[in-house]
Symmetry: C2
Subunit: 357 residues, 2 copies
Amino acid sequence: MRQRDPNKTTVTIRDVAKTSGFSASTVSIVLNNAPLARYIPPQTKARIQKAAKTLGYHPNVFAKSLRSKRNHTVGVMVFDITDPYCTPILRGIENALYQASYLPILADAHNERGRFERYLEMLLERRIEGLIVLANWLYLDINLLADIERGKIPTVIIGRELESDAISSVIVDDEAGAYSGLSHLYGLGHRKIAFVRGPKALASSKARWRGIQRFAKDTGLELDPRRIVDLPDQRNPNVGVDDGFRMTEELLKRKRPFTALMAYDDMTAFGTLRALAKAGIKVPDHCSVVGFDDINPSQLFVPALTTVRQPMEAMGAAAVVIANDAITATAENRTVGAIHRKLAAELVIRESTRAVP
Amino acid sequence: MRQRDPNKTTVTIRDVAKTSGFSASTVSIVLNNAPLARYIPPQTKARIQKAAKTLGYHPNVFAKSLRSKRNHTVGVMVFDITDPYCTPILRGIENALYQASYLPILADAHNERGRFERYLEMLLERRIEGLIVLANWLYLDINLLADIERGKIPTVIIGRELESDAISSVIVDDEAGAYSGLSHLYGLGHRKIAFVRGPKALASSKARWRGIQRFAKDTGLELDPRRIVDLPDQRNPNVGVDDGFRMTEELLKRKRPFTALMAYDDMTAFGTLRALAKAGIKVPDHCSVVGFDDINPSQLFVPALTTVRQPMEAMGAAAVVIANDAITATAENRTVGAIHRKLAAELVIRESTRAVP
DNA sequence: TCCCGAAGTTCGATTTAAATG
DNA sequence: GCATTTAAATCGAACTTCGGG
């Protein structure tokens, strides 16, 4: 026999029905403003709405989702939330999601493949409506994409363009960004310029270097191989500083003087700044330094770092727009192809660069 | 008439039942390893498990949650995710949650009250099982707590102890931390020490200052009011740098020489470093500087900042433990009182402090 | 009584088909 | 037929009860 819990705390649609004097169906129709609601007299509507309000009725999202197969939730997978590059992007995602009344479930892969897969599984089980992956560092390969595609979940990757082309992406124009950074140095009169390039395995390293080469070609600037070093292939972004330090010391050891240095990214530039300070070389007086990314600490540094800014919040927002479009398309049974957005980087001139004397 | 969609993509428990040749009930019992499962012969179990695997069966979480009223989700509310203080705590929360197979829903209040309330509403509607609030900055008052208590959701606040005492909290021992920071300076021989205190409205400001006063009393150190300035009451943590800069300039203007300075937090210290550099005062040669927090950029700085470290990851993890205990207690219909944990801060000596010559 | 398995009810909301005046 | 309302089926899984050997 049906036994209702007398001291239950949750109020259901049936409670609203009872106190308003109508059936659950009618309550549902009114409260959701369903098509049928147009036949229902305003008086009835008013009574139902009043009852719902006085009872403090909140529809149970599980029951709702069970039928509608929607839950207004998207998964956000980052590879390392402690990476300062992540946070502004996360902010952009969160903000755009908020506007669209979505809620993000956060997953941090800690740069570990196994953890990524486990999280992906958990997110898929929750029937997230979309997935945004912040692929700043780790290599994504095809296997885990298979999982995503199997689930038919609209997915957007930020910071990396996938070979497969089946998944949408948002990236920054690394080539043009590097071009503008070097152009700034060149405009200040620098000709002997050193470079700490990024890890070879990263697509962004290649793209940024293409920008450098293009500028050199355009202006006739000489790129001396003895003033060029490469960051090793590694995974943990936080050791980027140490690597930047080491590679700059390596550069210094070579005794090829330079009046400016372009670092792969801001983290690397911080290492450079440290190495330069240790060697007694003043920035920007004796040497100018340019970074890439414009992560939060860059503006705090003394001297504040001149850098090429990635529009991180905008990138996060752009990813949400793409995901949202794909989600509504899926809901309406339409199909949309993958979308690839490339956003412009912007040079931010601060204190670490100066005209060559 | 019942019409099953032939090209449906989701596989349900009934599908597993059909292909395994047993009923849905049995499948449920086996797959959840329910109490009744002990009567079921291994052979049956094996067949069911095999069928589930080959079909790629994933139980529908909505249906599950609808009955069990549990969804293994907790809400994590931050006040500003771009604050570098947040991220390590978030990491600690995420990691502990992961161990316990919970997933976090992230909400960022942007330091806005209205946004906090809206998010709280959204989270409550989702029937989150617990709530962790990272209250680093904004003032929380009683109204919004009412909402929380009404929902009977286990809640933990990090970074602030509530007056009401009904809600659990995790904080750092600000007083002892400040004590140890000053003790370090004193041990290096500093006697003329300047202070940039935190905003008066913050509890942590008061606690840290108590630590300072206690140390002064213990050692007979003189606290000269002309070497003390206060940060204004404000909300945005990122302007902390500017305020630190301004207050340090104010200090410099007073012409009361000092050989060391204690800043309210690291952000403030960055401002101090900038002001000192501008005035031609070398750190640590002419002046030592101590911060508080040990946010990520502090170790990157040149000179790297000596600071009092908050165990941020541990604080996040501790909050999860408290929340988890409360959740299981609620599930078992027990009641637990609020728990208040105070974690020790740790002095981290780097490059910004040195013995007075 | 013990073992094994199935039928049926329930969670809370949506929606279709049907009933009422 | 029309306007208004509702009973009943449904979503997918869990749990209680029941029956046959």
